[in-house]
């Protein structure tokens, strides 16, 4: 018998001793099973003793509250291994020894631990052989504390054996070291296994081009069929503009599409809002073909930063290569505030839809559509409460809040709309912003009540949950049936995107207190059963800036800027049916992932 039990039993003869024993057992049962006799005794005592019952309940609730701290796991500094390995080397040198280093300087495993390395390799191999990482059991919370993303390699050392994930690339825009915006594309054909992230080399961008924009990009959507992207960004006055920009072709040495810029670009009013919009002076007033522009384009307004305009700028960033500058060709709307992250091209690339409201906040949001090739986007709703959800084929799905007579609760309604005619078809299910998968079989949607933000006049989720619902072309979002919860709790804003197979989706949930950051998760869908699972190794609730891309077995997002002024990092998780791996970039300022 343990000393504790002996002491406990000595005290059971007194009333206070009984209470002490009950409390000790109530605490002890949280850490392991009690003896059957203790279980019975404790149950009897708690049934009769209100105070001890309260204490036991407090132990339970305190434990839950403590465990809630798991949700926020701090990330170690990225240079921690560099510091640690240097300290170990110093220690080894002082002892007359030295960890073995291979030709490239990286400490190499010695024979004594090869068995351990082999175990890791076998585990990875076994995972592949046994059906892959999708079937791997999720690790415990402590093991999940390190997200499956790469850590910066502390030195230019060869990393672990990478895994191939097939051809594919990720694009982004960020500020290069010369202070100018740069468009980058990185081929991500190999990633590092999650288990070997600390040694993983950073990704290198391959196709960098300067980009001249007078707006600070917030979101960039690439056309699915053209070398073209729509850029949503904020100008110096704080208003948003939506620009169209030609992207270069995949060849890094190839000149960008010589699509001549319009001169000058007319700036539309965000009809039908009543806010007058001043004609803009976009940089797209360039009269030079962009293919000749290794210098900034001529601009109707002087650039805010003085730069030589006649001499090709030598690139100072090691990631930049001299290349023609990309310029915006067209401003399709300005003087607005673009709402949310749902802006996207239709699947056939012929339309682009987004939600915007007047920048002065005089009214709520409307859905805007732009037909590729037109000069301007136009508002296709005029109720000042509608928001764009997603595309279902070549019809868009919008949502607007609804208040029933005699009720204070705001509910949701959604509709299909032909972007060409504006003809609406109401969806029966009272859901908000359904995001339909490419196969039109499933939709992720907010199921619950809404509230309207007093300042922005925008409806946002209130009470409810983000769920997966069935979807059909004829019936729209299923009224009921099994709804798998995608996220619940406080959901202030969300962005959900499917991959092209409709079997993977990424879910970004805005932080309730700071919507400029959020938590991103990768979820797998069994398309037959509709069951969602979060495979081992897939990012779960990783901190991410708004805007991410998911396609071709790759999820790319940007981390919030680091401490000490360090830029964000682009993080990419890539997967096959059998394995998952990750890579990341070095720090990038003002990074926006192209989706």
């Amino acid at each position: 018998m343990s000393r504790i039990r002996r002491l406990r039993r000595h005290r059971t003869g007194t009333r206070s001793g009984a209470h002490d024993r009950a409390r000790a057992l109530a605490a002890e049962r949280l850490d392991g099973p009690l003896q059957p006799s203790d279980v019975t005794w404790l149950a009897d005592h708690l049934a009769a003793c209100h105070t001890c019952r309260m204490v036991a309940n407090a132990y339970d609730s305190d434990r839950l509250a403590l465990r809630a701290m798991r949700d926020r796991t701090p990330e170690p500094p990225r240079d921690l291994w560099a510091r640690t390995s240097a300290a170990i080397e110093r220690e080894a040198a002082s002892q007359g020894g030295r960890p073995r280093r291979n030709a490239a300087g990286r400490p190499g495993p010695a024979l004594g631990i090869l068995s351990g390395v082999a175990v890791i390799a076998v585990v990875i191999g076994a995972s592949v052989m046994s059906g892959g990482w999708l079937n791997a059991p999720a690790t415990g919370p402590a093991q999940q504390t390190t997200p499956p993303v790469a850590l910066a390699s502390p030195s230019a050392l060869p990393g672990p054996t990478p895994m191939a994930v097939g051809a594919g690339s990720v694009g982004w825009v960020g500020t290069s070291t010369d202070g100018r915006l740069a468009y980058n594309v990185a081929a991500v054909d190999e990633v590092c296994p999650v288990e070997r992230q600390p040694d993983c080399a950073e990704i290198a961008d391959g196709h960098s081009r300067h980009v001249d924009l007078t707006i600070r990009p917030k979101s960039i959507s690439q056309s699915p069929v053209r070398n073209e992207a729509v850029v949503v960004g904020t100008d110096a006055t704080g208003s948003d503009s939506v620009l169209v920009i030609s992207l270069p072709t995949a060849e890094p040495t190839e000149a960008p599409s010589p699509s001549p810029s319009k001169s000058p670009t007319p700036t539309p009013k965000p009809t039908p809002t009543s806010t007058p919009v001043e004609p803009s002076t976009e940089p797209s007033t360039s009269t030079e073909p962009s293919s000749e522009a290794s210098e900034p384009p001529a601009s109707a307004t002087p650039e805010p930063t003085a730069r030589p305009t006649t001499t090709p700028e030598p690139t100072v960033s090691p990631t930049m290569t001299p290349a023609p500058t990309l310029v915006a060709n067209l401003a399709i709307v300005s003087g607005v505030k673009v709402v949310g992250q749902s802006a996207s091209y239709s699947p056939d690339g012929s339309w682009f839809a987004f939600t915007a409201r007047p920048s002065d906040g005089s009214s709520g949001p409307d859905i805007y559509v732009w037909r590729v090739g037109d000069d301007l986007a136009r508002a296709i709703t005029d109720d000042h409460s509608s928001v764009f959800g997603s595309w279902a084929g070549n019809r868009l799905i919008g949502s607007r809040p609804k208040v029933a007579d005699g009720s204070a609760e705001i509910t949701a309604s959604s509709f299909l709309m032909d972007p060409a005619t504006g003809k609406e078809t109401a969806l029966e299910a009272p859901v908000w912003r359904p995001i339909v998968d490419p196969e039109h079989r499933w939709a992720v949607t907010w199921n619950g009540s809404l509230r309207v933000d007093e300042n922005t006049h925008i409806a946002v989720p209130d009470k409810g949950s983000l769920v997966l619902r069935g979807y059909s072309r004829s019936e729209g979002v299923a009224l009921d049936g099994s709804s798998d919860t995608v996220a619940d709790g406080v959901v202030s804003d969300f962005d959900v995107r499917w991959d092209e197979t409709g079997t993977w989706l990424a879910v970004w949930l805005a932080d309730a207190t700071d919507p400029s950051i959020g938590r991103l998760s990768l979820v797998h869908l069994d398309p037959v059963s509709g069951a969602l699972d979060r495979p081992h190794g897939a990012p779960q609730d990783v901190t991410a800036l708004p805007g991410f891309s998911i396609a071709n077995g790759r999820l790319a997002w940007a981390t919030p800027p680091g401490q000490g002024g360090e830029g964000s990092r682009l993080q990419i998780v890539a997967w096959t049916d059998e394995a998952v791996g990750a890579v990341e970039s070095g720090p990038i300022t003002d990074v926006v992932v192209i989706h």
């Binding site: 605490a27 220690e91 400490p107 190499g108 504390t145 390190t146 000490g564």
Partner: protein, 192 residues
């Protein structure tokens, strides 16, 4: 340090150990000490000590608990050295740098009565609770990490739960008192 073991083997072993566990060790030390930079320094110290004391690891399968034991001792040494008797408030500030957005969010979440209560319980109890509840150490691993028997580790945990309950109750009572004070002051201020 014996100096008789293979430096190469130890270096490679610690590298592997770092790859697997540095995140959780950093998190543990941060939760114990509440200073990000200090936690990073101590994480580095813990792995250097693991390298120096490689020969004290008897069974490789116990490496995680052994590493926690080292980290725990590093934390207690630092607490004693700096005479830290309570948590520092998590301001999100590290030396010479601005708090990250992530940190600020984390601060808001963690600056809670739970944090304050944890700060008030003895550090060994706090360590036991953190390792058991947040880092999922098993009973055997916890005992190894704390350097005590399994029974003693369980007793520490039991005492820790009672300490935490009392500390939380005190925190909540203090909050209620403060609220009552504020409510009482406002009418007086309005009258002025």
């Amino acid at each position: 340090m014996s100096g008789l073991w293979d430096h190469e083997e130890a270096g490679a072993f610690v590298e592997t150990l770092f790859a697997k566990h540095h995140g959780e060790i950093y998190a543990y030390l941060l939760r114990m000490l509440r200073e990000p930079e200090l936690a990073a320094d101590l994480t580095q110290d813990a792995f250097v000590k693991a390298y120096k004391n490689y020969d004290t690891l008897e069974k490789p399968e116990n490496a995680r608990a052994w590493l926690y034991q080292i980290a725990h001792r590093v934390a207690l040494d630092e607490i004693r050295r700096r005479k830290i008797i309570r948590f520092f408030p998590w301001t999100g500030e590290s030396r010479g740098s601005a708090p990250s957005a992530e940190h600020l969010v984390m601060d808001a979440h963690l600056s809670s009565d739970m944090q304050r209560a944890l700060a008030k319980i003895p550090e060994r109890q706090r360590a036991a609770l953190l390792m058991a509840e947040l880092h999922d150490l098993t009973g055997v691993e916890l005992a190894e990490a704390l350097g005590v028997s399994h029974v003693a580790a369980r007793a520490i945990l039991t005492r820790a739960r009672e300490s935490l309950r009392q500390a939380l109750a005190a925190e909540r009572a203090a909050e209620a008192d403060a609220d009552a004070d504020r409510a009482a002051r406002h009418p007086a201020e309005r009258r002025r």
